[in-house]
């Protein structure tokens, strides 16, 4: 029952926020609802994995054999925790961003949250597909209404990309549904589908392309830098912090159990593509002048490592990737909060026009530097735990792949520290002067993230406990 609340609270709050017609009320509704969701989730997280209380099922479309069935497992716990933690932080951080038609903005954010929760909870293929799209549509509107100059084309490209991916997945769903032993959409029936090796490969690609577009994996990533750049930064936080995790999560929840052989067989190709993407994105990130694009490319690099580690299908890689889903999510949201503040204060995003922000904003600088360290996965930050495990996993799979992938740490340090140096240190530029240190709400949001970074960097055991027994990999 609690699981339903996780979806229903943001959904109803979103509708209330839109109906309220007032940005001030919508903001409060949003914050309260997201905190309530977090409260419910923390309650649920105490229940051990595999318990009855972590599943919910109700008949939905009887003649199709589709159920409204939810399940919270180890990776699901991490993903829902990420969603529930991120939204309050995002709301706090962008509290003072005055958006035109604010009530619609906050309402759509909450609807996106409901969709994301649904994706992470759904245990029925049709339901999963519903939420997969439900998460996309509010985001499309958010990007297109409040985005930058080229928002309409860019968000449409993003929409078409993901929509093509999802319809390919839909073909897979329909065909597999016809082969299930009991004509049902449940996770269990889908995993019991008997497929020949050739069929597995075919359907594997149908599903994988959908997930790969969402992550995104090279060469399907071209929508991502544009979308991140043109979206309002608050939405970019949701896109890059949480929404890309949908792809990774779907691989764990659906792809591996349904196509165990095909995913092992294709692991080589996927890992190669991911690692090409990692190096490629890191190199491009170094050359970027726009902060938003730089972080966008750095995100591609990080996601690439996670995808590669998942596909090694060993325990280390799997645990590392799941932990990193959470760590990368909050870290990158932290970076976007800083970018958002700089952009609002100075009106520029180009590093060449920025500099010396540290003199006026010491608090912001300290918090940012911790975030930057986490982004290069320095020990004692949360990202180190995940990356270490992931590289270990990749190393077990192939030494060569691990060596190339490790380059990303060096390259990551180059662009992240370059970013810190060019924007926060050096001489202040007169054109883009920052007036004061960050206001309280930004500091609070960033501090929450920094506390989590250090806490989970030093003592990651609670996160490992959430994952519990390794089920997805073997």
């Amino acid at each position: 029952m609690f699981l339903v609340l996780l979806i229903v609270i943001p959904l109803i709050a979103g509708i209330v926020a839109i109906a309220s017609q007032s940005a001030a009320i919508a903001k409060i509704v949003g914050l309260v609802a997201s905190l309530a969701t977090l409260g419910v989730l923390l309650n649920v997280l105490c229940i051990p994995n595999g318990s009855e209380a972590l599943a919910y099922s109700k008949l939905w479309i009887g003649s199709l054999g589709a159920n409204f069935s939810l399940l919270l497992d180890g990776p699901g716990k991490i993903a829902t925790l990420l969603t529930a933690v991120s939204f309050p932080i995002i709301f706090i951080a962008s509290w003072n961003n005055g958006y035109k038609y604010g009530h619609q903005f906050w309402g759509l954010m909450l609807l996106a949250m409901a969709g994301l929760m649904g994706v992470f909870l759904a245990n029925d293929m049709l339901l999963f597909y519903f939420f997969w799209e439900l998460a996309l549509i509010p985001t499309y509107f958010l990007c297109s209404i409040w985005g930058g100059e080229k928002r309409i084309q860019v968000s449409f490209k993003f929409f078409i990309y993901t929509f093509v991916g999802s319809v390919l997945m839909l073909i897979g769903i329909i065909s597999l549904y016809g082969k299930t032993p009991d004509a049902s959409f449940s996770w269990k029936s889908f995993t019991q589908v008997a497929l020949t090796a050739k069929e597995q490969l075919f359907y594997f690609w149908l599903f994988f392309v959908a997930f790969a577009i969402k992550m995104p994996i090279f060469p399907l990533h071209t929508w991502q830098p544009d979308a991140y750049e043109q979206s309002p930064t608050t939405v970019t936080m949701v896109l890059s912090g949480i929404m890309v995790k949908m792809g990774l999560f779907a691989v764990i929840r659906w792809l591996f159990p349904i196509f165990p052989e095909a995913s092992s067989q294709m692991a080589g190709i996927v890992i190669t593509l991911s690692i090409i993407g990692v190096i490629y994105a890191s190199l491009i990130a170094i050359r970027q002048d726009d902060i938003k694009r730089l972080i966008a490319y750095s995100s591609i690099a990080h996601i690439g490592i996670m995808a590669a580690a998942l596909f090694t299908k060993n325990n280390m890689g799997y645990e590392g990737a799941v932990i990193q889903m959470f760590s990368h999510g909050i870290n990158i949201i932290g970076l976007w909060i800083v970018v958002d503040y700089i952009e609002h204060q100075t009106g520029v995003r180009k590093m060449s026009e920025l500099g010396g922000l540290a003199q006026k904003a010491p608090n912001l600088t300290i918090l940012f530097i911790v975030l930057a360290f986490a982004n290069v996965s320095l020990p004692l930050t949360n990202a180190f735990i995940g990356e270490f495990l992931m590289f270990n996993g990749i190393f077990q799979y192939s030494v060569c792949a691990a060596v190339v992938a490790c380059l990303s740490i060096i390259l990551g340090a180059v662009y992240t520290l370059g970013l810190a140096q060019k924007t926060f240190y050096g001489e202040p530029k007169s054109l883009a002067a920052i007036k004061s240190d960050a206001p309280l709400n930004v500091i609070v949001a960033l501090s929450l993230i920094v506390v989590m970074i250090i806490a989970f960097g030093v003592y990651p055991k609670p996160l490992f406990n959430l994952i519990g027994l390794v089920t997805g990999a073997n």
């Binding site: 549509i137 309409i152 093509v164 390919l168 073909i171 329909i174 549904y177 016809g178």
Partner: protein, 467 residues
């Protein structure tokens, strides 16, 4: 039976009311009252016997549960159509009562098409369905485009009816009967298939494909839909089309057993593929929303034809969901379009800021037509393609094509959303020709809510199929 008889009587009542009632608004109210009565009457028939018991007609008309349910859907859609577009019908010309009467006659024709048991009734139904449409298309007498469309429709329609008659005659020659069940029984033992029978079936296929505007028999559609008064385009593209598709299924379902084999599916799959490609790709290049909807209705017919490809329970369930959600969404969009000054995409610019309610409802309609989950349109497409996959899974190329076409359709449907929400209105001219009433957005939202309801819980509709 209720549908056929009551709608025919309603048509007569409307014609007489045109003589005695001079106020157009009153005429609309009468028509709305009649259609509400008609839909209640069809609903009453669902789990029960017809009010009119005519045993002699059994050989000619036999209503199945499925036909009754489709009848309910058609009347409900027409009710919404009358309520939403009543004022636009009044603006078309002087003979408002006649327009309503003609539409009731169309419904009577649709009723026959849902229940015919004899090829002669099929012919009669098609004629009753289309002849009023020729007149409605040409209703704007002063408008050259409307006249041209009407003439074109009449010539092409007459031609296709001729082909249909030829087909019926050939089948009669080969089988010795007009009765569908007799033909079906005889055909089971007649292998190899009789040459005249085969030819007859192909001719029937072509003429039915013409009626549902499947490519390559679609050429009349864009011109007629574009030329006809916008309100009547709405009626033609929805209620008439759904009725024609159901007749298509009924015609080939029981009677054409030997043809059910793989050869039939090859033919229909080519038909579907052409329809989807032509409809979607041409729609992409349209600037006028009306014309875009004309092409999109071609492509929507392509999805509905999956039921003719599959002939299984899935397909029937799919048509029920598809028919209702497609009709409601299209009627909704057209009801807004027929009130607008500028029917290109630019005419929608900035609509969301001035009329948030209308824009929201339109968004739901567009999402449903594009087949985005949570709307009835998604489940409709899902059922149709599932039906195809369940009947013959070796046509993977067709399913992939169908779904990719759905992705293409997102492009042109979303242009409406982009215009409404993301673009600013440049000119000062008002969006609508006539001021919209306060109830109009609320009604639209009710229709939108209905579409979402079907999308979330189709059981409320499908349960009636299995009484």
């Amino acid at each position: 039976m209720n549908l056929i008889i009551i709608s025919a009587l309603s048509g007569v009542v409307m014609m007489f009311s045109g003589l005695f009632v001079k106020n157009n608004r009153t005429i609309s109210y009468i028509a709305t009252a009649l259609i509400i009565f008609l839909s209640l009457a069809t609903m009453c028939e669902l789990g029960a016997k017809s009010w009119f018991n005519i045993p002699q007609a059994e050989a000619m008309l036999r209503t199945s549960v499925y036909g009754k349910l489709i009848g309910v859907i058609l009347t409900i859609a027409t009710t919404f159509y009358f309520v939403l577009s009543g004022k636009d019908i009044e603006r078309v010309g002087k003979h408002v009562a006649d327009y309503y009467a003609l539409m009731f006659f169309v419904l009577a024709g649709a009723g026959i098409l849902l229940s015919f048991q004899n090829l002669l009734m099929l012919f009669l139904g098609v004629e009753i369905l289309t002849i009023p449409l020729f007149i409605l298309t040409g209703a704007q007498k002063q408008n050259l485009k409307s006249n041209e469309a009407s003439l074109k429709y009449f010539l092409m329609g007459a031609f296709s009816t001729g082909i249909m008659l030829m087909g019926i005659v050939l089948i009669y020659g080969a089988m010795g009967s007009f009765d569908l069940s007799v033909i079906g029984k005889k055909a089971q033992f007649a292998t190899p298939i009789h040459g005249a029978n085969l030819m007859g079936l192909l001719l029937l296929l072509a003429s039915m494909a013409f009626k549902v505007s499947a490519a390559p028999f679609h050429f009349w559609t864009p011109d007629v839909y574009d030329g006809a008064p916008t309100v009547f385009t709405s009626f033609m593209a929805t209620i008439v089309k759904v009725a024609a598709v159901v007749a298509f299924i009924r015609l080939f379902e029981g009677s054409m057993e030997p043809f059910h084999t793989s050869k039939w599916q090859i033919l229909v799959s080519i038909l579907i593929a052409c329809t989807l490609l032509v409809g979607n790709i041409t729609a992409v290049f349209q600037q006028s929303v009306k014309r875009m909807l004309a092409y999109s209705s071609i492509s929507q017919a392509g999805y509905m034809l999956f039921a003719v490809f599959a002939f299984n329970a899935f397909g029937k369930e799919g048509i029920t969901i598809y028919g209702l959600s497609y009709s409601l969404a299209t009627i909704g969009i057209f009801s807004v379009l027929s009130k607008m000054q500028d029917i290109t995409f630019d005419g929608f610019n900035g609509l969301a800021r001035q009329y948030p309610g209308i824009a929201f409802a339109l968004t739901v309609f567009v999402l449903s037509l594009a087949g985005i989950p949570l709307t009835g349109g998604f489940l409709g497409k899902f059922y149709m393609i599932s039906a195809g996959a369940a009947s013959n899974s070796s046509y993977t190329w067709l399913f992939i094509l169908a779904i990719l076409c759905a992705a293409v359709s997102v492009y042109y449907y979303f242009r409406i959303i982009q215009a409404m929400y993301f673009k600013e209105r440049v000119s000062d001219t008002p969006v609508f020709e006539v001021p919209v009433s306060k109830a109009f957005p609320i009604l639209l939202i009710v229709v939108a809510a209905l579409i979402i309801l079907i999308g979330i819980n189709p059981q409320i509709l499908l349960q009636y199929l299995y009484f």
